[in-house]
């Protein structure tokens, strides 16, 4: 069958090929960045074409075996269109931003090649409708993200950070393969939409568990969350892309698609629990971290946790709302962070970075307000939708309110500390315009999305978010009050204080800081697992060596036996005759007795 949505990948595939070729032919030509940008724009144009078309599901026979068709299936339903659109939009902004950011000519071909494949993988993921195409995209995402995180592999810590990412992702890949195989054996289909329509089976718990592990690794949920903050060693546009619309969203997206299966198997509580734990962990660590990008990474953990919580509450609309709004504010935060880092000699500590650009300051503020969830920015609608969905469950609701306060606190800590006047401010020369353009585009998108959310709520016929101002006024008031309190606390605590005192205080975090910065405990848990494996490896290794020695001894034994036997073959005819005679006598006796 003719599967036109796959054409969205064509410009990217072509551009990747060109980037690879130009990497071989001419390493320093600067043309590749424009080719990459053109490819993303072309893909976005095709995306718009797909969105204008109706929705449908398209199959391409890949191969068949044993009467079973292994198809590459893509679909263009609303969710596919949303994700495809987000990837294209943010992709354009990020590729523009990269023109300014990636100013090392010798690495450009590698960078753009990997970025294009990454974008391609995400677009394929966005339209995939069965496990085969999903898995292709899933693994491509993992590999390219590994290469991108380890992009500056010569720098300290980078290759270890990339390894942490790929090892976690590997767990997810293997689990995903296990889930696919189990699903196939259970339902004999790879197609998501056929799968959802199937009668529930009690055995579905196993594939769903494997699927959850895969999702948790990709979407950085507890206990697979650590790679996300380590991944901050990668280039900032990569972080911005990875955390906003791609990669980490892949896990949540597949959960949104397959949520009915989890509901049928009564596994939503797992989502709820893991999501809450991750969100709390993320918010706590974000408050105590000093690395400008790692704070944002922890905040992504929190965002993803909240989406999983929304799914655990079976509130798909809230999850989708969070999914959409998070894209814009997180991309904007990361792009701003990359800009200020570049302007400050690539410093990473928020206490040592000065913000001089007005556009960037404004973007940071807008994004921070949106993240905290204040009206009328888009984050408000996501958080409110989640809050309303959680309202019946008082425990979850309380925890969510606590997370709201914490997130307001940490993001304004980030903002206020960055905005403080720092004594040293040497200027760094870099090409600002493309980066500012990229930031400007995402800022505009943030504002447009806020407006869109506003209308989506206010016009009742498209009130998809199920927010009703009059009915839910109490919830909205409580939430807004708490968030404002968080912002105010951040103002009092961080804005008022002198930078030196603050820096000194945060160097010695004390007991409270240690509880907040609990990421190290997860790390030690990893080390315990690694230690157990290493101990097993040691044991088996020594066994193997002993086994090897044992076989040598068998060989030696054979030689010794040969030596011993050779004593009989001494050439003395008398001895031979004596043995022969003894044998004869023995035989005669034997026959007589018998």
């Amino acid at each position: 069958m003719f599967i036109y949505p796959i054409y969205v990948l064509a410009p990217l595939a072509l551009a990747a090929f060109i980037a690879l070729l130009s990497g071989v032919i001419d390493k320093k030509s600067g043309l590749v960045k424009y080719i990459a940008l053109a490819a993303v724009v072309a893909s976005f144009a095709i995306t718009c074409g797909i969105i204008a078309q109706g929705s449908g599901i398209y199959e391409l026979r890949w191969f068949s075996f044993g009467g079973i068709a292994f198809n590459i299936t893509v679909s263009t339903f609303l969710l596919n269109k949303i994700l495809l659109f987000l990837v294209g939009l943010i992709g354009i902004a990020i590729f523009i931003y990269s023109i300014g950011y990636m100013d090392e000519p010798e690495n450009q071909n590698r960078y753009y090649f990997e970025m294009i494949i990454f974008t391609l993988a995400m677009m394929l993921f966005a339209i995939s409708a069965n496990f085969i195409s999903l898995f292709i995209a899933w693994e491509l995402l993992g590999i390219t993200s590994y290469l991108l995180i380890g992009f500056w592999y010569a720098k300290a810590k980078v290759s270890e950070a990339a390894r942490a990412a790929i090892t976690t992702i590997l767990i997810g890949d293997i689990s995903m393969l296990a889930a696919i195989v189990l699903f196939f054996n259970l339902y004999h289909t790879f197609n998501f939409y056929t799968l959802i329509g199937m009668a529930p089976s009690p055995l579905a718990v196993f594939p769903l568990t494997f699927l959850l592990i895969a999702v948790f690794t990709k979407s950085a949920q507890f206990p697979f969350s650590n790679w996300l903050q380590l991944a901050m060693e990668g280039p900032t546009p990569v972080s911005a892309f990875l955390h906003s619309s791609t990669m980490v969203k892949a896990g949540v997206f597949i959960l949104i698609l397959l949520l009915p299966l989890f509901a049928q198997s009564h596994m939503l509580w797992v989502l709820l629990a893991v999501g809450l734990i991750t969100a709390v962990f993320g918010a706590m660590n974000a408050l105590s971290e000093n690395h400008v990008k790692k704070i944002l990474a922890y905040s992504t953990m929190e965002d993803l946790g909240l989406m999983i919580v929304a799914l655990g509450l079976n509130a798909v609309y809230a999850a989708v709302a969070l999914f959409i709004v998070q894209t814009f504010y997180k991309a904007l935060l990361f792009l701003s962070a990359g800009y200020v880092m570049k302007a400050n000699h690539d410093r990473e500590d928020i206490h040592k970075i000065a913000v001089n650009s007005r556009l960037v300051s404004f973007s940071m503020l807008a994004a921070a307000l949106s993240l905290a969830g204040l009206f009328p920015l888009s984050g408000f609608f996501g958080k409110t939708a989640l809050g309303i969905a959680a309202r019946p469950n008082i425990l979850v609701y309380t925890v969510l309110l606590g997370i709201d306060v914490l997130s307001a606190l940490y993001i304004f800590r980030w903002f206020f500390v960055l905005k403080k006047k720092k004594k040293e401010s040497t200027t760094v020369r870099f090409s600002k315009l493309p980066m500012e353009l990229g930031i400007g585009i995402v800022l505009a998108l943030l504002i447009i999305s806020s407006l869109a959310m506003y209308f989506a709520v206010n016009y009742r016929e498209i009130s998809i978010l199920r927010i009703n101002y009059t009915e839910n006024i109490n919830d909205i008031a409580i939430e807004t009050f708490l968030i404002s309190a968080g912002v105010a606390a951040a103002w009092l605590f961080y804005r008022k204080r002198d930078i030196k005192a603050l820096s000194a205080m945060e160097k010695n975090p004390g007991i409270a800081g240690r509880i907040l910065y609990n990421n190290v405990f997860i790390w030690s848990a990893y080390l315990i697992v690694a230690g157990i494996i290493a101990a097993a490896a040691n044991a088996v290794f020594y066994f193997d060596r002993a086994f090897n020695r044992f076989t040598y001894m068998l060989g030696k034994l054979a030689l010794l036996a040969g030596d011993a036997l050779s004593a009989f073959e001494n050439g003395e005819v008398n001895a031979y005759i004596a043995v022969f005679a003894a044998g004869l006598v023995f035989l005669v006796i034997f026959f007589i007795i018998k």
Binding site: W62, F63, S64, F65, G66, F70, I132, F135, I136, E139, L140, I143, G150, Y153, A154, K155, A156, K157, V158, S159, E160, A162, R163, I166, T167, L170, I171, D173, I174, L177, A178, I180, V181, L182, F184, N185, F206, I533, A534, A536, A537, N538, A539, V540, F541, D544, F547, N548, T551, G555
Partner: protein
Amino acid sequence: MIAGAYALVQEIAKESIAISLAAPAIALLLIAVVKEKFSRAVGVASTGIVLAVSLFLLAYLYAGHSIAISTSIPFISSLNINFEMGINPISFALFMMSSIVLFATSFAGNVHRTRQKATQFLIVLFQLASAGLFLSLNLFIFFIFWDIGVIAMFFFINSLGSESRKSAAMKFLIYEILASSMLLFGILMIYFYTPVHSFSISKIIANSGLIPIGEQAVIFASLFIAFIINMPVFPFHLWLPDAHTEAPTQGSMLLSGILTKFGGFGVILLFEMLPISRMFGNYIAALAVVSAFYSVLVLMRQDDIKRIIAYSTITEMAIVLFGISEFSNFGLYGSVYAMLSHGLLIAMLFLGAGSIEVIFNTRNIHILKGIVKNAGLVAYSMLAGIFIMLGIPLSSAFIADLLIFIGAVSAFGLAGLAPLLALLLVGAFLYLVISRSFMSTGKYTRAVGSIGADQRLAFCVLLFFIFLFGAFPFIMLGVFKI
């Protein structure tokens, strides 16, 4: 004219077996007489011709032609032994793999071009062995070519290897002679206990039910041990790491790439021939899982890149054995695909290990740092190799894994997923190696040598075929016709 071309195509297909055997046989004689510097050209020509024939056959079979290509020449008529050769889907997949690996081996792996004549002679001899073995339809012929392969490999290690090659070669020989004698014993048992007294595999399959159950068990045990020594599977694996450590790069490529597949192919034949094998399915699967985990855990303690890759061969072959023991089409053809994939992949990895040794003069992962800086292509090829080993989609390993594990879950339930955990451990460790030795934290091992364009070409050839069979699996699966 079109009719003429069609007739030609038919003719070539008919003679493909003869060409595949004649090319190395003639090349052997040629290498013996030509000067040292021409021997390489002869080797490349011989393997190239057979690669061309196998690609032609691939296209011919994919186009839907009948696979019934076979010949039978009386060999020792009084004992009912015929020189029977033929192509079936499984043997064709392995033949295809072996011709690609042999082609790459014939021109790459020997950077300094030392002892060309001996090397090429052994490569071509091994080519003869593998073509004869994979295409044989007769156990007697199978046994002859098996031993030719073993002897070629013995000399490869014994005369072309590194310092302590003698003991490694002897160890290899002892294990392989044990395997050979078990094989001969099993074959003779089959010959005497089948009523038709034939070595012909098709006749044995038709009559093997008539062998008494006790004798079947004995035959099964002896042949199975012979084949798993060769694969190798725990507890008969000890020869492989030592042989690889001492073998030259080309020897390693052929050893893990093709020689270990002799055993895999043998196990497939054995399970086809003896109905009793089905009784042991679960035990064999358990042995395979043990072997996989054992090799992974030992692998984690190795320093030498070649030993690491050698142990990963044991893991992969354990997964192959696991697939075969499922007794289903998914498992069987998944395993064949896994052998096809693994042969190409492991040849590339050993070529990479050899290149690293040439460039940096060491293979120790604790000494090597930042390979990617001075040997970019090698480092990225090895990285791609690791991804392939872990089964990324669009590589042939993915198709193999998918088929094997779909079969495994229907055969063994959840336990069928156990080898995936071994694969996970391999991956975790290999990523550690990549992170410490290939990428780096600012330190770089100094390059003392370089590899030529022919080596680079070999990487590209092997990767090309891995992704060809991965991205277009319907070609090979079309040949299988399942």
